[in-house]
Symmetry: C2
Subunit: 339 residues, 2 copies
């Protein structure tokens, strides 16, 4: 190995010239030590301004890109976050993804999105597989049980959205009261005094919270609540639930999410059941499609974009989960006077 002035590097016995420029190339060009380059690049201020500028120029000239793996090895920080969602076709995750992606980018972080297609098992596998390569994990619509979540949270910073497993795990949660109160008040004003709720999967923590909020608002107004069976939060689930709805005394029904209510609406149309004349319908989430299905679906919306941002902030700044996110009633045409 014929070395010139470089004493530290004794490269390639195998003869693989790597191609991409490294901080050593910059160092040579700027006539400084590689360690100085490293400092200039990652801790601006810890280096003489003129030196830093020379390094900046050299880096620019070489079109230098920092090798993320090399950076991650000694620091343990990958500058990458994982966002786990149960179903990427559910428009409810769009806002979360966008908010999270934006906030992550603002911090120089990369976001890995993994979809489990509603399988808790796959979610767990993905989480375990991804954890070594990320600095934190966001569970956006998790199907994991509390223990599994706590276990994951013990190995890397973790934040849940719409799920609370206690003090030990950070979470971004909605204040359901505002939206739910408005929704129930709206229904009661329309004359409905028996109101139904279709819960989502039994494993859904937020479904239970929604039920509680509705129950409270219904009680407060002297109306009656009917709770239907747990239902898959899909269009198929909603379609399958229609029979139960129309044979119940409820004249207005709130569903666990918009997706299932879309199914209810479609199935109702198929059977010539008029909405809202026969049944008033309200969902949660305000997803894509809720506004153009017919009739357009009245729904309770949560600021998803902000939820995504907060989740990222909670991981990177160790804050951002303060306070609950406000919910809001979006009035459309699936609700009407009791006939």
């Amino acid at each position: 190995m014929s070395s010139n002035t470089e004493a530290t590097v004794a490269p390639r016995p195998g003869g693989r010239s790597s191609g991409a420029p490294t901080i050593y190339d910059i160092a040579r060009l700027a006539e400084v030590n590689p360690s100085t380059v490293s400092r200039a690049l990652s801790q601006p201020g810890r280096v003489n301004a003129k030196t830093a500028e020379r390094i900046r120029v050299a880096a620019e000239q070489l079109n230098f890109r920092m090798n993320p793996s090399a950076r991650a090895l000694p620091t343990g920080r990958t500058h990458t976050l994982a966002l786990l969602v149960a179903d990427i076709t559910n428009p409810v995750v769009f806002g979360i993804i966008r908010g999270a992606a934006q906030e992550a980018a603002a911090h120089g972080y990369t976001l890995i999105i993994a979809e489990s297609e509603e399988s808790g098992e796959r979610e767990a596998t993905d989480a375990v597989r991804l954890i070594p390569s990320v600095d934190g994990v966001i569970l956006a619509t998790t199907r994991l049980d509390d223990d599994a979540i706590r276990r994951l949270a013990s190995s890397k910073p973790l934040v849940t959205i719409n799920r609370d497993v206690g003090e030990s795990v950070d979470s971004v949660l909605p204040d359901l009261t505002i939206g739910v109160d408005a929704a129930v008040a709206h229904l009661v004003e329309l004359g409905h005094d028996v109101i139904g709720y279709i819960p989502g999967p039994a494993s859904s923590w937020i479904s239970e919270r929604r039920r509680e909020a509705i129950e409270h608002a219904v009680d407060e107004r002297g109306a009656t609540l009917v709770v239907f069976d747990h239902t898959s939060p899909t269009r198929e689930g909603g379609a399958a639930a229609l029979d139960a709805l129309i044979s119940s005394p409820a004249t207005a029904v709130i569903g666990y999410n918009d997706m299932m209510m879309l199914g209810v609406l479609q199935e109702a149309a198929r059977h010539g059941i008029e909405i809202p004349e026969r049944l008033s319908l309200i969902g949660f989430d305000d997803i894509f499609g809720s506004d153009f299905i017919s009739p357009p679906l009245t729904t309770i919306r949560m600021p998803l974009f902000e939820a995504g941002r907060r989740a990222v902030r909670a991981i990177l700044d160790s804050d951002g989960t303060d306070g609950l996110l406000p919910t809001e009633l979006v009035l459309r045409a699936s609700t009407g006077p009791r006939v």
Copy 2:
């Protein structure tokens, strides 16, 4: 408060107290050399079966997870792929994402999804930023120009979907003929002899291909083609185009994609313009919502899931882009007899 495992660099030569088990820990436990552990883990077969088993057990016992950064550093392979999409809220990308994610997982690869929110500039930035940390890039709905794509393709394996920039870059493309011929035949049978096409963005390569295919099919059947102005592939774009449609001689219109046709349909409903009585409408993609908007949208579908899989295969196996993906006409209620 979440527990944050701060992985600081161990300053001591002998000390490996950094928390996560390494191949050295396995080596000690299995009483072999670390290099043997490495071999056993990455190249099964290059190691004695009994030794390999001992190593497997030790790894299991320690709950070992390979450090991806450490693995990537000497090899240059990150086992990660980037999938760039223009708009994650467009249901057209779901299938691609799922197909790509599944195929990637099957090969032990992780998928990074980046959304540019329709900004070509941001797409370019993301690509440049992500390239050092991935083994390949998939451009699913790119807004980049040919040169930019070729430039990216020269630094890492790259595949485009619905975009052809020539021999130098692999691509996954549809055979538009089947679906488009069926669509045009369908319209002509219904009595339409003046057929319109609403192109997407001027920068969309596939929009032009769709136009050509339609033109060809229309010519073949002795009908006439009317091409409207370039239109944003969004609901807003479609809504804005409605005026032009109804004031043209065309009695049937094919749009660049379903998303814009959803906008046309909504705007038509708002103005009391009956579909399909007044205008027959066809889109491309068969996205979420096309089936439940009213009337449900007739559309030309491409196997998106398969497209995603092929794109990944093209990168990992250096094949998989052979042949075109078949398209298919999905008949629904937005097309009807010419009145």
